[in-house]
Structures are given as structure tokens and as C-alpha cells.
Symmetry: C2
Subunit: 636 residues, 2 copies
């Protein structure tokens, strides 16, 4: 628990725009569509526009009050569709905030609840006979504003990128290897519609979460990153809970999962969803378990069903449900090095074994689809049997569940419910590809959403790195969203710095995947950075970096003076050894010989090159041509 | 500059053994061979033995004095070969410590030099007509003690690993994919000899560096990590310089490169080499440039030749020489986004252009071989034209130089000089493989030694992560040694914590590569960790981690009490949600049903599984078998 003053300080810090940056809105064809992006003004006059996950928080023009929630961007779109109805909603239950019999009387908690409840609207759901999922619209050929929004958002502003794509030879050399992805040069709303219709992409967008800036998850789009957040052991205020969300999206989280457990979880979720411009996911079984006092055997379908509706009404955009963890698969884990490591998975396995019954998520799966469909909550079919160590990777328990998730995917699609598939976990590099291949084969290209995977087990304290390696590779191979891992994985709860470290590591992995796949424009960002580097535009390098603040702080540790931001060298090599400086001198030298600037070095040295070619005809002469040393073994 | 008290503190800190660990020595067939390893006593009675780069520094039984240097482990081996002669050596020159005309009179520097000179022995070189390289011996069928040492070191103590390799089905599933490597189950001294003879591996071991614990660099061995160190702007003491080395090898550096520039570089090198149990590499052109006051045009072959001998006499084990950067290749860099980014490369390019002459390292290459051969200094043929941005990756400049390095490799091998090849740099994931393939094709499997590569350009402050991704991949594909990158790359000089971050990131990458290649025993380390994790042996997890100190500190942030080191849960999920705890309960439950312990769950649930199979015959039943929900779209 922190002092209120410090919290205010932190919250205001996280609203600060990034350096040299401002929020711009790119208008769509529909007047209601205004896509938020981050525009960076570089010191050389260029303007670079980047994908922006931070929402209105980095826009100083927007007055925000966490007690009011964000403006409901999608409300007009939802109204225009006129296929949902507002209704009174499920009445609050005593145990919604945890505890089998609800909380004891607690004036402070009552006040927190009162504040949270004040944020809520009346819930909506599909009108009788209507279907309101993005997949439903897509299959009927309807391009929704959500689809248009994500199309523009994925494209970004292409004008600035052209500067970097002028050299045809270079482009040919650097063309990505999409490994089966089919990413068009320009993402059209129609392309988005088609991808959603065939289930290859998901737009998580609960009708009760009008605050989101829509985003899309699919292998033919920018690779996304999820960050997990959770409630504090002692919740003190809306600000503190919302700040975790704001911090995560500031560094690049495309979605957040609220993995709160214990007390206050309903109340916390109210605050997070109303203030979140990104989709929010949950694992509903966590709350259900709280409601039965932590006794897995006491879970039941009616209780879970009630919890799903409770959370759908709040506006959760996707649910992790371990419906593929079936009773007969549990014995397959007996020989494992680390058994079952998914929390949800182990809870359900315990229930199955205690009752000697099939997983009730599996037996009630069609009913679950009906609930998801009424609110457009997307499935994130959980991998409860994912490996918890390299030793257990790709075993029969894992793959039996994966094949079941594929079967369930077809059920969800029959209901036109959007679906993604969760993946591991701990997988050595040479087994990563098989995960992607099996997922594509059995799950019909439904978006894959993996946790890492971690490529080694021996790096506690550094698992964000151990897993970023696997995440980058599986992202390249086709995974649509990467769930981040922080340095505290396996050890403890992440603090603010851990969250930032984890997200930046995963933004690196996702961007590396985008570049390898050849996502149009992904490399332009790298090129803008490299150009700034070569031209010693230090401040532009910071602004273009994934974490401008850290980059500048690191630079300042050795060269703190403002003037060194203009220096044509850096502290690593100093002025004498700066290779980039020498290269520039080389070019200037050639120019001084009276040659035109841009072609200077090329033409200046072409003479030498021609001379050389005339002599040998090859770029390298055979080694026999080398001068032989006169003496041997006796120097000094 | 730090206070002496703090320095002593730091130096003593870095001599502390790792937790639960002691130094053991595995005897070879030759009585003189005693291979140092780190043995960890786990709390369950198991003993795990790990490869140990930290040298005698982590052995409290060894009394060390940086003013005496390390004991000369190889001295007896060198004497026994009786093919080197001691000689007076090159007389010190005024400019050895930098400055065109040498330093002004400086009493403090004189004292530092006196201390450094006191460390030195008379240099040795090959006796007239003799060849003293490990490659020379290897080709003649001689297994040297150095070869025997590395064979035992690579194997480690295999006894402890057997525990983890009992399950044949799991082993088959996890067998690595060596991608062309041929790693035998047990590394024999004869295998080492054969790999060195064919140039596929290098044992850097200057006859003037008897202090090293021999190590090997080659694709059929454990992937190695190099860390760069450099002198302080103001050198204050031997301790301070040596501490950088000790710190780097503590975290897992297999070799260090001394990239010092400026003043004191000769003196600093004396200190480092005499106190280094790992091979030391340098870039001799850096010192040569200091000797000509930083004016690249004033470099000359006689000056460089003198510098090579100076450093060879000091005991440097490998030299980075950019002999493949040829004059005709320089114009190929004119259209690049970031020109020439190698320091050595840019210095030599400037010289070539200024003189309109071919690189003197290339024209005098055979003479260089003669020098290297006399001391068994290995080549690290530098990639002066490596890309400095994704945009420049795999271009003609880079590959023209690589092909030349392949030609030069054949020259070095004719002289029986050991050789490795340096590689990039900045390479997107989808272009990494081509680098390895081209290197293997043109350089005849000489060990590849890469800097990263960085897979994205936009991560200043996090380039250890951006590059660990590429390093892990290229390590899997066949790279033998990975040069680390720290978080300060592109921004400033790394401090102690940056060095640790960089090395640990690279140990992760190297280990991920070993596991993917199927290096025998690599995975046993992961399995020991996973078993400790599943059994809640917290202290064992810390001890088995790459950085025990950080892992324990992270754990203690949320559960600081000593008793929580025994807790059967952790702070991430708490006791209620601990999946591993639930899995154990599941197994205990089965056991309580009267079933035998080890097979408890498997057998206990096998009944259910059999029952299930009898009903459906498949692990998953088709979805049509699911119960259909009675109602639709109208919950709540």
C-alpha cells in the first residue's frame, strides 16, 4: 500500500506523452471512426506514426476521471446496430467479491463497492433471436466500424514509411519469410471482415465494453502482446488498480488479463474494465473458486455459469476456459516432470478426479457458447495441460488437449463465437515449430496465443529473456498474440519495473516476428531508428525506441551533458573510434574530391573497384596472390 | 574511480562461491590434468556438477594475489613439449601505453607499470623450425593435455545426469535437432583432437598464457559466450581492472576480449592476462591506432607487426584482425543505411581509401600467420563490414568479406594456425539462417563467432534481449561462440550490472542452443531445476539458476521469511491456487486409494482412462457427443 500522494504522482507520470510525440486521429470512411495513433516529430523534419496501445491516457487533450471511466467510443456503433437490449442484469451476490458466504461487514469495502457500482451502466445483451458477434456480422458480409478501425490501425500512416522503402534491391533482400501467413500490402476493412469470418482473426469486443479502441488478433496482423495484471492484496483505491492497467498499455500491452484472486475481485474488475481502452480477459474459474472458499471439489456448473454472466455483464472481452482438459487426459500427466502447471488446469483436474466425472466445462460447452454469443465474449481456450518444463514439452497430455481444443473450436464457430487457442509454456527451441504446426493443423488457423514459450528452465530471475526467444520464434511461425512473462516468473509478484521489463521484452519479440514475417511497414520503424543512429540524432533515437526514458537515462549515465545529444559520437567508442563517424568522414572525403553527395563514395571508389576488377575480375582474388612473408617463426 | 575500501569489498564479493557449491577437480588420464568443475549439493541429497568458467576465484582453498597472477596451470605441459624457447622479448616502447610520443613523465603511471612488469615472465615462442599450435599437434595425431582437459570439461560428471535420462519415450521426444552438428554422447580427447585437426574447433591457448583452464570453441561442443571488457578512463589499480574480468567469468563468460583504448592499454593487458583463467582476445589495431595518435592514415604494417608481437608476448590468445575488409569492398557500403559499424573495419577502410591501397592486413597476411603460429595465437577473422542495421543485413559488402574470410581461413590452416570467423551484428530472424549457411559453405566449418545478432533495431536499452533472440537461433544453427551484448549497447559504457545482465542473457541463449542441438547432458540441468521446482525446493532452485543471487532476492521480495523457503507454494499464486501443489495433492489422493507411490496417479486414473477408452476408443470424443445446451441467448 502506498501513500496517496505517491499514487497521484505515479498516475500523473503515466499520463505523460512520450517525447516528441502527440496523439493523432486518422479518420475512417465512417465519420464515427477516428483511429488513435502516436505521431513522432523527428528533429530532421520527418514525421513517424506508430501503433499506439496507450489509449487516451497519453493524450493531454482528454480530461480523464477514473471515477467516470473512459468515454464509450463504441456506444454509437452499438446503438446503430440496434440488435442489443439493455436489461437489469444479474443481481449482485454476497460472494461476488470472494468468500463462500460473502464478506463480513466492512465500511471501507462498502465504499469501494459503491464507487465501483457508480461506474456501471445497465448491461446489454443480444436481443432475442439476434446474434451480436463480430464473427456473425463478418459471415454476413457486414463490415462493422470495429473492423474498419482495426484495418486503419494496422496500416498506420503509410506515407512516412515510403521514405524507407525506396531501394528495390534492399527490399527484395529483406522481404520477410511469412511461413504461411498472407499479409496484404494494405489491410482493408474487407480483408479484416474476411479474416474474422473464417475464424483466422478475433476482435475481442464485448457489447458491454464500449470503451475499447478495437484491435485484432490473427496471424495476418501485427503480432500482439498481452500483459497480466492482478489486484493488490490490500486494495486501496480505484487509482491504484487502474494505474496497473495504464502502466501496462503505456509500454505496449495490446490486451490485459485481470488475473485477480482473493477479495475485491468483482469490484476491481469494475474499475479496470470501465477504464480500459484495450480488451480485458479473465479466467472465470478463479472467481468461481473464490466463491466456494477455495475448495475445487465444490465447483459446479451453475456457479460457473452465474460467474460467466456476471463477468460478461461487466464487459470482459475474452474468457480463458480450460474446456479441453478432459478426465481421461489427467493420467497422462502422471509421468511428467512437473505435472499440471496451469492454475485453472489443476483446479479442474482436481474437480474431475474428485468427482470421477468429465470436466463440466466440456460437458456444458454448448451452453457456454450461448452465453459468450449473447455478449460477444471471445473464447480463449485454455491449455490446462501445457508443459511446465522442457521435459514435459510436446507430450501426449499436451497434444491430446490441443486436439480437443480444435474440436471445440468448431463448436464455437458453429455458434459464431470468436475463438483463440492458448499455447505453452516451456518448449525447447527445436520443438517450437511442432507446436505451431499442430495448432494450425488441429485448430483450423484459429489465432494461437502462447505464454512464451520458455526455451530453458534454468533462468529464474531472467525468464522474460528465456521466453522472449521462444516467443519471437513462435510469433514468426504464426502465433497471433504473445502472453508476456516477467523477470519475476517462478519467483514472485511482478512490480512496476518487472511489468515494464516483461512488456518491452515481448514487444521486441513481437516486432522481431513482424519483421521476419514481412509485415508491411514493420521494418520502416527499424529503418527510421537506424537512420537516426547513423546521423547521430540522439533524441530521435530515444523517441523511436521502445522505452525512450530508459534509453535516455542509459545514455546520460556516461554523457550527461545536453550538448552530447548533438555529439557525433558516443561514450562507447569515443570520438576517435566511432565507426559511424569514420564512415561519414569517408563519405565526406569522397565528396571533397568533387563528387556529388549521395553517390559520392560509390562513385569515388568505383574507380578503384573498376581498376581492381580489371586486374582480377573478382571481388576477391585467390589467396595465392598474397605476398608471402619472408621469414618464419622467429619474430621479435 | 572508487575508494580502495569499496574495491576490496567488490573483489572479495566476487570470490564468494555460489550457494551450496564447491570446486571439485576431475582427474584426467594424465596426472597433470585436473579439470575444475562446480559441484552443487542439493537438499535432497543429489549432487549436480556444472561447467564452471569462474576459475580459481570461486575456490576459497586457493590463495590468490593479483600482484602475483594465477598459478601457471599449463607450465608443466609446455615444458614437457620442449618445443618453445624463452627469449628476451621485444623491448618496451614509449608509446605502448598510447600516445604518439609516449606519455609525459607520470610517477603514478610509472608505479602502475612497475607493478605490471613485475608480473611478467620472459616470453616464449616456437623454437626454430618448430610449430607449437594445437592444430599442429592435432594434425600429427598428438593428444595434448589441453585437448584432454577440454574433453573432460565438456563432458562434466555424467553420473548425476543419468537420473534425468531414464525415460526412453521422453528422451526420444526431446532428442535435439542438431542441424548438421555431430556431437558424440561422450567427448573423447581423440574427438577433440580430430575436431581441432580439421579446423572445426579452436583451443585458444597462447604459449605465453599458461594460466588458462583450456576451453574449446566449435559447433560440436557446448556453445560459448564471450564478454568484452575495457580499461577505465582513469585506471586506479590492478584490482579494479582484474575485478572486471573476475566479474565476467563469474557469470559465465568463456572468454573475454580486452577492448581497452586510450592510455594504459599495455599495462592493463599485463594485469588482465596474468590473472585470467579464460582465453583473452584483443583487436590489435586499436592499440596500433593509439600509437599513431589516432590518425588512421598513419597506420603501417611495421607498426602493426610490432604490436602483434608485443601482444603475443603478453599472452593474448586470439586476435581479431579485419584482414578480409578489402579496398574494392568499401564502395559496396556506400548505399548502406548505416555504413561501416565495426570500429576496426572503419579504421582500416579509412586507411585503404586514404592511401588508395589494399588493406595491409590482407597483403601481409602470410607474415601475420607466421607470427600467430610462433605463439599459437588464434585468428578471429573480423567482419569489418558487418551490418549495423537490419536494412544492411546480408548485403553484398557483408558477404563479399565473408567469402574472403573463407579464403584466408585456408591460408591460416596451411600454416596450422587455429582460426575462427566473426559474424554479425544486426540480422532479422528470417535472414539468420543464411548467415550460418554462407559461413559454413565458404569458411569450411571454421568456428563461427557472432555478435548477437540483433533481431530488431528499435530496442535501445534492451539490446541484450533483442540480440539474445538471434544469438540463440544462430547458436542452434551452428555458431560456436556468442559475443555478448549488454543493455547499454548503442548508448554507453556497461557498468557491473549491465555486464551481468548481458552475460546471463547470453548464457540463456547458449544453453537454449545446446538443448536444441541435443548437446548430451545440457537438458539434465533443466531437469534438475524442474524437479526442484515441482518439489518446492526453493534453495535448490536458486543454486541451480544462472544467477542464484538475483533469483533469491526476487523470491524474498514477496516471501522474505526463511520458512517460506520450505513453503509448498509461492507468492505468485498463493497456497490456494498453486498448480504444483494441487498436482501433488492429486497424486497423494491416488496414493491414499492404496496405490503404490511412484505409479500412483498413473495407475489410479488408468482405470478411468481404460473405462473411457472402452467407451470411445479415442482420447477425445467427437464434439457431436457433447450435451447440447437447452436454451439460447437469454441468460441471466
Amino acid at each position: 500500500m502506498n501513500a496517496p500522494g505517491e499514487l497521484q504522482q505515479r498516475l500523473s507520470l503515466s499520463r505523460e506523452p512520450f517525447p516528441q510525440s502527440r496523439k493523432v486521429h486518422v479518420p475512417g470512411a465512417s465519420p464515427a471512426v477516428q483511429v488513435a495513433m502516436r505521431e513522432i516529430a523527428l528533429s530532421n523534419g520527418e514525421t513517424v506514426t506508430l501503433y499506439d496501445t496507450s489509449g487516451p491516457y497519453t493524450d493531454p487533450a482528454v480530461a480523464l476521471d477514473v471515477r467516470q471511466g473512459l468515454p464509450p467510443l463504441r456506444a454509437a456503433w452499438l446503438d446503430a446496430r440496434a440488435d442489443t437490449v439493455a436489461y437489469d442484469g444479474r443481481p449482485p451476490a454476497a460472494q461476488d467479491d470472494g468468500g463462500r458466504h460473502g464478506d463480513a461487514a466492512d465500511a471501507r469495502l462498502d465504499e469501494l463497492r459503491r464507487q465501483a457500482a457508480a461506474l456501471q451502466r445497465r448491461p446489454r445483451r443480444a436481443a432475442a433471436g439476434a446474434s451480436v458477434t463480430q464473427m456473425h456480422y463478418a459471415r454476413r458480409g457486414i463490415v462493422t466500424p470495429e473492423m474498419e478501425y482495426v484495418a486503419l490501425r494496422e496500416n498506420g500512416r503509410r506515407e512516412w514509411m515510403r521514405e524507407y522503402l525506396g531501394d528495390a534491391a534492399r527490399e527484395a533482400r529483406l522481404r520477410g519469410n511469412p511461413l504461411g501467413a498472407c499479409i496484404p500490402e494494405t489491410i482493408t476493412p474487407e480483408f479484416v471482415r474476411d479474416e474474422v469470418a473464417r475464424g483466422r482473426a478475433v476482435i475481442p469486443a464485448n457489447v458491454n465494453h464500449p470503451e475499447i479502441e478495437p484491435m485484432i488478433i490473427g496471424r495476418n496482423f501485427r503480432v500482439k502482446v498481452n500483459a497480466n495484471i492482478g489486484n493488490s492484496p490490500v486494495t486501496s483505491s480505484i487509482e491504484e488498480e487502474v494505474e496497473k492497467l495504464v502502466w501496462a498499455i503505456r509500454w505496449g500491452a495490446d490486451t490485459v488479463m485481470d488475473l485477480s484472486t482473493g477479495r475485491h475481485i468483482h469490484t476491481t474488475r469494475d474499475w479496470i474494465v470501465r477504464n480500459s481502452p484495450v480488451p480485458v480477459g479473465t479466467v472465470p474459474i478463479y472467481q468461481a473458486l473464490e466463491k466456494v472458499g477455495g475448495v475445487a471439489e465444490d465447483l459446479s456448473w451453475p456457479l460457473l455459469r452465474d460467474t460467466l454472466i456476471e463477468q460478461a455483464e461487466q464487459g470482459v472481452d475474452y474468457f480463458t476456459l480450460h474446456a479441453g482438459l478432459r478426465l481421461p487426459f489427467v493420467p497422462l500427466t502422471a509421468g511428467r516432470r512437473t505435472g499440471i502447471v496451469s492454475r485453472g488446469g489443476s483446479i479442474l483436474a482436481k474437480w474431475c478426479v474428485a468427482h470421477h466425472q468429465e470436466n463440466f466445462l466440456y460437458t456444458h460447452f454448448e451452453e457456454i457458447c450461448e452465453i459468450m454469443k449473447a455478449y460477444d465474449v471471445a473464447f480463449s481456450l485454455g491449455d490446462g495441460l501445457r508443459p511446465g518444463s522442457a521435459a514435459d514439452a510436446n507430450d501426449e497430455a499436451q497434444f491430446a488437449e490441443l486436439r480437443t481444443l480444435g474440436e471445440l473450436t468448431q463448436v464455437t464457430w458453429r455458434h459464431e463465437v470468436q475463438t483463440m487457442i492458448e499455447g505453452p509454456g516451456h518448449v525447447p527451441m527445436h520443438l517450437v515449430r511442432a507446436n505451431m504446426d499442430e495448432q494450425l493443423r488441429h485448430c483450423h488457423e484459429a489465432p494461437f496465443y502462447t505464454l512464451g514459450p520458455l526455451t530453458v528452465d534454468i533462468a529464474p530471475g531472467y525468464d522474460h529473456i528465456a521466453s522472449a526467444i521462444g516467443a519471437a520464434m513462435i510469433g514468426w511461425m504464426g502465433t497471433a498474440m504473445l502472453c508476456y512473462v516477467t523477470p519475476k516468473e517462478h519467483l514472485g509478484l511482478p512490480d512496476r519495473d518487472d511489468v515494464r521489463q516483461g512488456i518491452v521484452a515481448y514487444r521486441i519479440a513481437a516486432h522481431a516476428a513482424d519483421i521476419a514475417k514481412g509485415h508491411p511497414g514493420a521494418r520502416a520503424h527499424d529503418d527510421a531508428m537506424s537512420k537516426a543512429r547513423f546521423e547521430f540524432r540522439w533524441r530521435d533515437q530515444f523517441a523511436l525506441g521502445l522505452d525512450p526514458q530508459t534509453a535516455e537515462a542509459f545514455h546520460d549515465e556516461t554523457l550527461p551533458k545536453d550538448s552530447s545529444k548533438e555529439a557525433h559520437f558516443c561514450s562507447m567508442c569515443g570520438p576517435r573510434f566511432c565507426s559511424m563517424k569514420i564512415t561519414r568522414e569517408l563519405r565526406e572525403y569522397a565528396q571533397a574530391q568533387g563528387l556529388d553527395e549521395s553517390e559520392a563514395l560509390k562513385r569515388g571508389l568505383a574507380d578503384k573497384s573498376a581498376e581492381f576488377k580489371a586486374a582480377g575480375g573478382e571481388f576477391y582474388v585467390p589467396v595465392e596472390g598474397l605476398r608471402t612473408a619472408p621469414s618464419g617463426g622467429d619474430q621479435g
